[in-house]
């Protein structure tokens, strides 16, 4: 698992080494980065305490929060943005975004509007939607998978991407406060992607392109997948 830390509002993979220097530490940081670093800042050697405080600064984005956390006070609400992966075919994976704050966990994802193989025609329920939510008739120009459609909601057991055993998982950023602002951005980006009526293709543009595009449009423009996610870097043609 690759861990990506935060520099205030965001960071990228190249900074992650400063946050997690070993596999065990990475696993601990992934589990609860703030609590782990807060404990190190109190109980570690002087060098470890200094390192932990610097890393807490990066995670919380400000010194006031770092001081509160390091002194053992109740940690402030944090928002964690992750990309998680599910296996699809062989070594390929499907990426989706999970946001977690104090009282909720939500997901953002993309996928094909239909799944026809020639033997089964696209059903009425698997068609694209107009901006006002009406289903659009199947359009042959989109082929057997239709355009990319996006979805968001509470990440709970019956949701489409729910898994307790992801094939990959990475923290994109951890920021102070709840996730409302970034979730609003993600939802808007997802709506724009769906409105672009981009033809889904298994090797891209696809669900992985959708996740990269949502992150990129929200300011997280240097995220690299930790497992093979074909189409990640495929651009989705749309008005910005």
């Amino acid at each position: 698992m690759e861990i990506q830390g935060s520099n205030g509002a965001q960071t990228n993979a190249s900074q992650s080494g400063a946050i997690a220097s070993g596999d065990n530490q990475a696993a601990r940081v992934a589990a609860d980065p703030v609590a782990t670093l807060a404990q190190q800042s109190r109980t570690g050697s002087p060098v470890e305490q200094g390192q932990a405080l610097r890393q807490l600064d990066q995670l919380t984005g400000n010194r006031v929060t770092t001081d509160a956390v390091a002194s053992g006070k109740a940690p402030p609400e944090m928002c964690t943005i992750e990309v998680r992966y599910k296996p699809v075919v062989g070594p390929t994976n499907h990426a989706f975004i999970v946001t977690t704050d104090g009282d909720s966990q939500n997901y953002f994802r993309g996928g094909p509007a239909s799944n026809a193989n020639g033997l089964n025609s696209p059903s009425a329920s698997s068609r694209g939607r107009t901006p006002d939510g009406e289903r659009q008739p199947f359009d042959a120009q989109f082929g057997i998978y239709g355009p990319i459609v996006t979805e968001s909601g509470a990440y709970v057991d019956p949701s489409v991407d729910w898994t307790t055993n992801p094939s990959g998982q990475q923290i994109v950023a951890t920021t102070a406060g709840n996730c409302d602002a970034i979730e609003r951005q993600f939802a808007n980006a997802a709506n724009d992607i769906e409105a672009s009526r981009t033809n889904y293709q298994p090797l891209g543009p696809n669900s992985n392109s959708t996740v990269r595009e949502i992150l990129e449009r929200s300011g997280y423009d240097d995220v690299n997948p930790v497992v093979w996610s074909p189409g990640w870097n495929t651009q989705i043609p749309m008005a910005r």
């Binding site: 909720s104 996928g111 509007a113 059903s123 909601g153 057991d157 019956p158 489409v160 996610s229």
Partner: protein
């Protein structure tokens, strides 16, 4: 005598081929029978739900029905914890006047790249009365 001796291996080979063909037929028949099992589809689930859960049904009614049908992903639905307040996701464009309960039937269809699930979305008003049931396919690919 020589003729009989030379027939032996040929007969044994024919018997082996016959057995192999028989196994093949049995296997193919099994696959065909498996493939002919009726898979749930949007239309059949929609009509079942519409008949069983009229407008105004409570979350308990819905949870009870889903549990009875086995749409529970290995755990019983709970009318409290499985009822999602959409107001908490109003900033994501969700309707703040609604609660939602979801169920899913996974892997109803698969092509090489894409797997299809059927999602059931039950919408309730603020008084937790069933307003609408949407049944739709959801597709997962790379």
């Amino acid at each position: 005598m020589e003729h009989a001796n030379s027939d032996g291996p040929v007969k044994r080979r024919l018997v082996k081929i016959g057995i192999a063909i028989s196994f093949g037929i049995v296997a193919l028949t099994g696959c065909a029978m498996e493939g002919s099992k009726p898979k749930p589809d949007v239309a059949s689930i929609s009509s079942e739900l519409s008949a069983a859960l009229p407008s105004g049904s409570s979350p308990s009614d819905v949870a009870q029905y889903l549990n009875a049908k086995g749409y529970n992903a290995g755990r019983p639905f709970d009318p409290e914890t499985d009822l999602i307040d959409q107001a908490k996701m109003a900033h994501m464009g969700k309707n703040a006047d609604h609660f939602e309960m979801r169920a899913i039937v996974r892997n109803v269809r698969r092509t090489f790249w894409v797997t299809t699930d059927i999602q059931m979305i039950f919408t309730f008003d603020r008084q937790k009365r069933l307003l609408n049931i949407e049944v739709k396919e959801g597709h997962t690919g790379p």
